[in-house]
């Protein structure tokens, strides 16, 4: 194509217009795509990082503490055969992490009644959690990581703080005696001060020996993969627990020991769902705008084509008069526009890739580029495809 580059060089503003138009369309599409990706990333991050808890509750979902959770339910979360029968196919452990549990048993210390409370972590007891009202003063060498172990120590109320160890006697099916080293003292306003805090393992051992079984007062866990919550409920959760029913109507279960589901499993995913829904909505907005922009690329191409062919009317007529066929005239115009569009798209992709750093949406951009070129082609065909007299009118 003779003098294609020469003519483009000598018409910088018009070329710039084409480049900018192409770059703007590409930039808008890329930008909107980046918005979509950003939403995806945010949604992934929310799924990955926002902790979603589940807890065993009463049927109405209004109590998750002070329950009497039997060993079989505890074992769903721990998979320890001592607590109850194991569940090889429907084990919860593949879906959850950070199990937090509390168990308690009545005991005698020097003939006075106390409650022995076993915890998997400090937060398992509301009163020991931050702001709960009780604080622990640890003896040397101990801190709150004590609860995650299995040591047979205990945290005692102020009245027992002078002791080095306490001997607890638990009368159940069998009478069990255990000696617990005092490793801390708790203080708190308005406390009843007859609770001894130990590790979960230690109290469970005592319970198992005394009662040949354990119960838990509260049991909760965090989901390890928030995207698999529905799968968890379908495959495991719903087999052992009822869904939370605000009316509290007992749901028939009809297995060996139980007429009704004794407990519900509450999944606290409202914040996750509402946050994700908001981000999903934004993502769809970006997606729809991106698609609209891609469709509009056709319109922009057409408008640009009309503009440019209008401005080059005389030139195109002259080319035809000098013997170029109409298809060659259109081909020259399109070659120029294709070059400029590619430049524009390339520029936009390069700049935005450097700025945003995500891989461009090649398919969308290709479709938009094609749409813009097609729009331009339609305008060019309109301009050049006229009958000869009309085409050469501008020159004659």
């Amino acid at each position: 194509m003779p003098y294609l580059i020469t003519r483009m060089r000598r018409r910088p503003m018009r070329c710039l217009l084409s480049i900018i138009c192409a770059a703007a369309v590409c930039g808008a599409i890329f930008g909107l795509f980046a918005g979509e990706r950003s939403m995806d990333k945010s949604i992934d991050a929310v799924y990955a990082e926002l902790p979603v808890k589940c807890a065993i509750t009463n049927l109405r979902g209004t109590r998750s503490e002070g329950l009497n959770i039997p060993g079989w339910a505890v074992n769903l979360f721990f998979q320890d055969e001592r607590y109850g029968p194991s569940h090889p196919e429907t084990i919860f452990l593949g879906y959850i992490k950070e199990v937090s549990a509390q168990t308690s048993i009545q005991a005698l210390i020097a003939q006075k009644p106390y409650t022995l409370v076993g915890l998997t972590d400090r937060g398992a007891a509301r009163e020991l959690a931050d702001g709960g009202g009780r604080i622990i003063v640890w003896r040397e060498g101990y801190d709150e990581s004590f609860f995650s172990g299995d040591e047979s120590g205990c945290v005692v109320p102020n009245g027992l703080s002078q002791l080095e160890s306490v001997t607890v006697e638990v009368a159940g099916v069998e009478t069990v005696t255990a000696e617990l080293r005092v490793i801390g003292t708790y203080f708190g306003t308005g406390d009843k001060a007859n609770t001894i805090y130990c590790t979960w393992e230690a109290v469970c051992d005592i319970e198992l020996n005394a009662n040949h079984g354990i119960t838990a007062s509260s049991l909760s866990a965090v989901f390890s993969d928030n995207r698999r919550i529905d799968e968890f409920w379908e495959k495991c959760g719903s087999k052992y627990f009822a869904f939370v029913d605000p009316e509290g109507v007992p749901q028939e279960w009809g297995v060996t020991m139980y007429r009704y589901y004794p407990f519900a499993l509450a999944i606290y995913d409202d914040t996750l769902k509402s946050t994700v829904a908001s981000l999903e909505q934004s993502k769809i907005t970006f997606m729809i705008f991106g698609d609209i922009m891609t469709a509009l690329a056709l319109v922009f191409g057409f408008l640009l084509g009309e503009l440019i062919t209008k401005a080059r009317e005389q030139e195109l007529a002259l080319q035809y008069i000098l013997g170029l066929t109409k298809s060659r005239v259109i081909a020259e115009v399109m070659a120029e526009q294709l070059t400029l569009s590619l430049l524009g798209f390339g520029l936009a992709i390069g700049l935005l890739f450097a700025a945003i750093g995500i891989s461009p949406p090649w398919l969308k951009i290709a479709i938009a580029a094609a749409a813009q070129i097609i729009g331009f082609l339609i305008a060019a065909l309109r301009a050049v495809g006229k009958k000869s007299p009309e085409l050469t009118k501008g020159v004659e």
Binding site: T62, T285, F286
Partner: protein, 700 residues
């Protein structure tokens, strides 16, 4: 020159111009529209999280050390140390980047006949609170445990005194009576009807004489009023249900107390060996594996209710013999005579009935009893009301222990306007058959600190506050109608943690009622909201000041997703810029094609001798003739695209999209577009008029 006519003669060209303007207008609207949508989404997201710092009162205790430096105890301050308090007050001003706002919540009591509060003592639920032994702690039984019964006396015990009082203390005598409930005059509706049940009355009288003066004997009928009614059999059933949780759907139907195995002598001896001192005489076996041991005292609880009656208010002051007592009136200590004190603060206790209870209550002698029957009714429908400046700043809501599950919370302006709206628990709503939208006429009353018997522990708690007892001496302070706008649910309704609230608690916006409120700088009464994402910064400040652990901060997980939320906010800006760039291109294209082109026409007109104003008018009319309809079409396109189309596409995609770009925004954009284009057209016209002036000057 007929400008519009000219436009019609080149229809395709004019259409092109229209398209250009419409496309540029639509592009600008879409760009701004998506930005507004993102801003709205951002505000919604931000609004979903509220970061609340709740005081832990860590610094209200002081450790006590021994000679070796070991902690041997603590001592408690009644309030925060002054410097800590001052620091907390100074946070909003000293650290403006935290955008801290203090939230102080106040407590009032209110009664409404429509409300049916939950009396935890009457709940037939297996409740185990704080794991402390077998006895229930009942945080919210006040003020629902008042009762007035008609009783037939079957047995009168011997009077006895409290041996542990000092010499100058006298709390009267205590006499145990046993009888049968003949009828119920006043009892909270949650309890089972005790008519026909046995009753254990504990009568606390100033002296034996005053008791015997009643003339009660075996077979006598009497009216009894007390403030600590207990359903003993329910307590026993609840204890059994604790162990037999698995299969209990109904604590009455599923526990058959007629099926109790009484121990033989051998079994009793074995039980004594296993549990010395507990006097186990029977067991209730509810499965092959499990049985609940029962003592003599436990068996006595079957079919029995209990009530304490107090006939002299000075009994509660252990000052029965005193001539004068000190009263607290409006915070001041005032000496009054014992007679005056009795006259002011007496409540009914026991009275012998000669006729029927109804007759007595209708009689003049029964006016006091009638009055207290009405007071009982007020108390049975009373709830604690928390007036809050920000419901999300209430610790339970902030910690996601409670959430609004139906309706809504309060809007910003509703707090400042003191709107007459409220949020109640769905448990209270269920029990009272109420829904969102229903109206409640709340009669507010204040605590009467001087009426000792009716002070209770409400206002000494920082959690699980209950309504105060209604005091006839103070009456109602205000009566207002409130609309229920939301229902909340709790994860642990009867928890007794530091910030716990009972499901009887009603929330109203601060300032919606003018009443004396009780508040404090700790517990459920005090919290502080800070800007989302600044929890770490606050903790850093506390560490720096040496006040680590002063607050516990709840942010519903915002800090873990903060970075991702912030990156999402920046994208819409870039998109807005892209759309603006396209708008510029299209507008430039229009300018080249039309106003500048018309300038050529206008100059030709001038060269043919037409007046300058004709040429200028031609440019203006031609330009506006395309710009105005094009903008209208573009605005319509934007309305359609940003509303209907997107919603339909969203529904098709399975997601409900609400891209609600406010119509005024679209109109504003359209007006700006029109103004910009008009400016360009005017510029073209101005160059022509300048040329016309030059021509005229040359002619002269």
């Amino acid at each position: 020159m007929k400008s519009f006519h000219q436009l019609m003669r080149t229809p395709l060209r004019s259409l092109l111009g229209l398209l250009l303007i419409a496309a540029s207008c639509a592009m600008l609207c879409l760009g701004v529209g998506q930005y507004e949508a993102e801003v709205e989404a951002r505000d919604g997201l931000e609004g979903r999280f509220t970061t609340v710092a709740v005081p832990t009162n860590k610094y209200m205790i002081e450790y006590v050390y021994d000679a070796d430096g070991h902690v041997i105890g603590v001592s408690y301050y009644s309030s925060q140390p002054f410097e800590i308090d001052a620091f907390i007050r100074s946070i909003p001003e000293s650290y403006p980047q935290l955008e801290a706002k203090e939230a102080s919540h106040g407590l009032i009591s209110a009664s409404c006949p429509k409300l049916q509060p939950i009396n935890v003592a009457a709940l037939s639920e297996n409740l185990r609170l704080s794991g402390e032994g077998d006895t229930m702690t009942l945080p919210s039984d006040q003020p629902y445990t008042e009762a007035m019964l008609e009783v037939e006396i079957e047995k009168i015990g011997k009077p006895h005194r409290d041996e542990y009082l000092s010499e100058n203390e006298n709390s009267g005598v205590e006499i145990e009576l046993e009888g049968k409930v003949l009828s119920v005059i006043a009892l909270e509706s949650g309890y089972r009807d005790p008519t026909g049940s046995r009753v254990r009355l504990t009568a606390r009288f100033a002296n034996e004489e005053s008791f015997y003066a009643l003339g009660l004997e075996k077979g006598s009928r009497c009216l009894a009023f007390g403030m600590d009614y207990t359903d003993d059999e329910l307590e026993l059933r609840r204890r059994i249900a604790k162990s037999e949780f698995a299969d209990i759907a109904d604590i009455y139907d599923d526990i058959d107390l007629s099926d109790i195995h009484m121990f033989s002598a051998e079994e009793r001896r074995k039980a004594d060996r296993l549990n010395p001192g507990l006097n186990i005489v029977a067991e209730y076996r509810y499965s092959d594996m499990y049985a609940e041991s029962l003592s003599k005292a436990d068996l006595d609880m079957i079919g029995r209710v209990s009530l304490t009656v107090v006939n002299d208010p000075l009994i509660l002051r252990s000052a029965v013999d005193a001539d004068t007592v000190t009263e607290r009136i409006d915070g001041k200590r005032v000496e009054v005579t014992a007679e005056k004190y009795r006259a002011k603060y007496s409540m009914p206790a026991l009275v012998k009935l000669d006729g029927s209870a109804e007759e007595y209550l209708r009689s003049e002698a029964g006016v006091e009893w009638r009055k207290w029957q009405e007071i009982c009714d007020i108390d049975y429908h009373a709830v604690p009301v928390i007036a809050t400046p920000n419901i999300k700043a209430v610790a339970q809501f902030a910690a996601e222990e409670a959430e609004i599950t139906e309706g809504r919370g309060f809007e910003k302006e509703e707090y400042s306007q003191g709107a007459k709206i409220c949020v109640i628990s769905d448990t209270l709503a269920q029990r009272s058959s109420l829904n969102v939208g229903d109206k409640l006429k709340l009669s507010f009353y204040e605590l009467d600190e001087s009426f000792a018997a009716r002070t209770g522990s409400t206002y000494l708690r920082t959690a699980n506050v209950a309504a105060a007892y209604y005091s006839p001496l103070r009456g109602f302070a205000a009566e207002e109608e409130f609309e229920i706008v939301g229902l909340y649910r709790q994860k642990n309704e009867w928890s007794d943690g530091t910030y716990a609230i009972s499901p009887n608690t009603v929330f109203i916006p601060e300032g919606s009622v003018a009443c004396e409120e009780y508040t404090s700088n700790s517990g459920i009464f005090s919290s502080m909201t800070i800007k989302n994402g600044s929890a770490d910064e606050l903790e850093g400040i506390l560490r720096e000041k040496g006040y680590e652990g002063l607050f516990v901060v709840y942010d519903q997980g915002y800090s873990t997703v903060k970075a991702e939320l912030e990156s999402f906010f920046g994208v819409s800006r870039s998109t807005l810029l892209g759309c603006a760039a396209i708008w510029l291109v299209l507008t430039a294209a229009f300018t080249i094609l039309f106003p500048l082109n018309k300038r050529v026409d206008a100059e030709r007109m001038l060269s043919l001798g037409a007046p300058g104003r004709d040429a200028v008018r031609h440019i203006l009319l031609s330009g506006l003739g395309i710009t105005v309809p094009g903008t209208v079409i573009g605005t319509a396109m934007a309305f359609f695209l940003s509303g209907g189309l997107i919603e339909r596409l969203g529904v098709a995609a399975g997601v409900g999209i609400r891209l609600s770009v406010p119509p005024r925004t679209i109109v504003l954009i359209a007006v700006c577009q029109l103004a910009a284009l008009a400016l360009l057209i005017l510029l073209a016209a101005w160059t022509v008029s300048k040329k016309a002036r030059n021509i005229r000057r040359k002619k002269r």
